[in-house]
Symmetry: C2
Subunit: 402 residues, 2 copies
């Protein structure tokens, strides 16, 4: 019980740079060392530590990965977390975080941090938005205060926060949308990309990423990717997906975009996703992911495991002494029974949210480690097939006594 | 940052039994090894581990010390936790817990557990109570279901849960109450004490405690203590205090009762208290405490520290980079700034509750360790004076730059 958790405190030494390496700055380096089809395994080296790719970034919206001690976020296998510019600019404020030593110090997470640009959440959360060429004026969802976000201000905020990877300010449209609307937003996002990149300037050891837009229109996606590839970004993201469209649409857009993304820069699929979305996207050459699913699900009684998604609210768990996964590398998945987790969830106990969030993050990171190892071994197809088989039949097999 | 926490997994070997030792059963032994005035320092040995006294027992109401991983409850210094019979009998149910291997296994806490009898919470939480000589009939505050608690059923539930220390079923009256009402309830509690003790029977390695009642009437308290001292309990509790009366009343009742409690049995002051209540009670010979204060306060933005109680909601913390207590033995009190804790509390983040709960439990356990060491060194009076001085001037001194 309760073995001490091994925690890597000092950034590992960067790997020797190989053929696929591009030196992006004095110390921000992306290095791929294995391929399997379109998938690649690699490592991003930064002054704050290395990021093994494909990587899953837990979401630390308001300077905390919800319900999880940063010590555990690290122990669970995260090399990097994501912070939300929109939330942090409203509370506690970017200038305040900067005065307190930056986001790493503030949230006691000394490892790499990526911040989004705020654009997506201005659209999804704020009130009374007004968008024009310059940027977006909006009211805070917290206190109604008025704010302006422009490409320049978004990059300034991300700089104040001290993010290691900073995202361009963009406009993300919801799908379905008309091709004309998709085109307008994509072109605006390209102009904002140029302004964002210029505002980022040169920050040794830090990176700026552009974001491909274009909704579900292949020609727009290709145009966006090509234009961004010609700009001096250190990585490129695919945005505007996982916003309600079918998985097939999302994967088709990755397939369309991928050939036009530079081989030597990391590719980040924003806001994705379910485990099945992740494995399919890794197979299509994506290197980085973020998603609230594991943390949000954990606060709502849902567990992600090798056996698929398990709803702990279900009465069938009430008397079940078995843990969620006796073979998990994470103690909470082994040391607490389904009956206990069910009890905690039904009772609204915070410990239930804590344990399930950690179990979900453990599964996500275990999945990423498995994907990396499979790519290195040239066995990605088999790994994915095996994972899907487990999700599909796992709990059913358990009930049958397997 | 994040040093591995030392966790004691195996129960320590019992001390050599000294002059003050009484062998209560094959393996439940209370041993005092130091005195300072009325205060004593000692150790309760049980098959599940030893309990250093004076001891503070974190409250694990619904089979969880709220917002705290059991690994951390242990690392914070707890030798024993308390479980609530009332809550556990309603959800998940005593028979269910027993079928799942007992409360220790259920909540993944292999160390000693004390359960209350349910009597107090039937009075404070349930609906539509009916009390008679036999026991109490009541409706659950959760789903309105009808239940009966008697001395026999309470002890049966505590046995099903597998508690190491089981409390007699009693009636606790609120103060102020009439002397006649206090007398009626005290005498009923004495009759229930006999039935409880009989129902407990002989359980090697486990203990049954009686509870002194009598409100704020000295003669009733003395009568209750004397009668209970003549029964075959393994420890005695003082109940019905910290229910709204002034501290002076509480301390006066301890002074009245203490000479009539057996020297060789542990004394437990139920539901107490604030740090000041604890130190004053230890000085009067109390060995065990439980209270929701540190955990409840932690969920409401309040921290207990050497500098007194600190309200993290207060705007003066918003830009303060200092930790709550740079000299705390608990990392969370040192590694996170007041500004960050303020941000978490204002944002309603679960991590804020987690960190403050742990900081409070750390302070409580540090206080108990200090009391034990002071008693052993014969310096209790100075220790208490020093602690009170810190509570009174701490934050004021900080603001002044001290």
């Amino acid at each position: 019980m309760f073995p001490p958790v091994k925690i890597v405190l000092s950034p590992r030494r960067p790997r020797q740079r190989g053929a696929g390496t591009q030196r992006l700055s004095a110390s921000f380096v992306f290095n791929t060392h294995a391929r399997d089809g379109a998938a690649r395994a690699g490592e991003i080296s930064t002054p704050r530590g290395n990021i093994r790719t494909p990587a899953f970034m837990p979401v630390g919206t308001a300077a905390t990965v919800k319900a999880t001690h940063p010590r555990d976020v690290r122990a669970l296998g995260a090399d990097i977390v994501l912070g939300n510019t929109y939330h942090l600019m409203l509370r506690p404020g970017a200038e305040r975080v900067a005065a307190l030593g930056g986001l790493h110090t503030f949230m006691n997470w000394p490892f790499p941090i990526l911040t989004d640009s705020g654009g997506f959440q201005v659209m999804s959360l704020s009130k009374l938005r007004k968008l024009d060429e310059n940027g977006v004026t909006f009211q805070s969802h917290i206190d109604g205060s008025r704010h302006v976000l422009t490409p320049e201000r978004s990059m300034q905020i991300q700089d104040l926060l001290g993010a290691d990877i900073q995202m361009q300010f963009d406009e993300c449209v919801r799908m379905p949308c008309s091709p004309a609307e998709a085109e307008r937003a994509m072109r605006l996002s390209l102009r904002w990309a140029e302004r964002s990149r210029k505002a980022f300037g040169s920050q040794p050891g830090r990176a700026a990423f552009g974001i491909v837009q274009g909704a579900d229109v292949p020609a727009l996606r290709i145009e966006s990717a090509k234009a961004l590839a010609d700009m001096d970004f250190h990585g490129l993201a695919i945005g505007g997906l996982a916003v309600g469209e079918p998985q097939a649409t999302m994967l088709a857009m990755i397939d369309v975009v991928q050939p036009h993304l530079p081989e030597d820069k990391p590719r980040y699929l924003m806001g994705v996703g379910a485990p099945d979305d992740i494995v399919e996207s890794v197979a299509r050459g994506v290197d980085m992911f973020d998603c609230v699913m594991p943390t949000r699900a954990g606060r709502h009684g849902l567990a992600y495991t090798r056996f698929g998604r398990v709803n702990l609210r279900n009465a069938r768990h009430a008397g079940d002494p078995a843990p969620l996964d006796p073979e998990s590398p994470w103690p909470a998945a082994r040391d607490f029974s389904r009956a206990y987790l069910h009890h905690l969830v039904k009772s609204g106990e915070i410990l239930g949210m804590m344990l399930l969030t950690s179990i979900n993050l453990a599964y996500y990171q275990e999945l990423m480690a498995g994907l990396r190892a499979a790519i290195e071994a040239g066995g990605l197809r088999d790994f994915i097939a095996h994972a899907k088989e487990g999700w599909a039949r796992g709990e059913a097999a358990r009930r049958g006594g397997a």
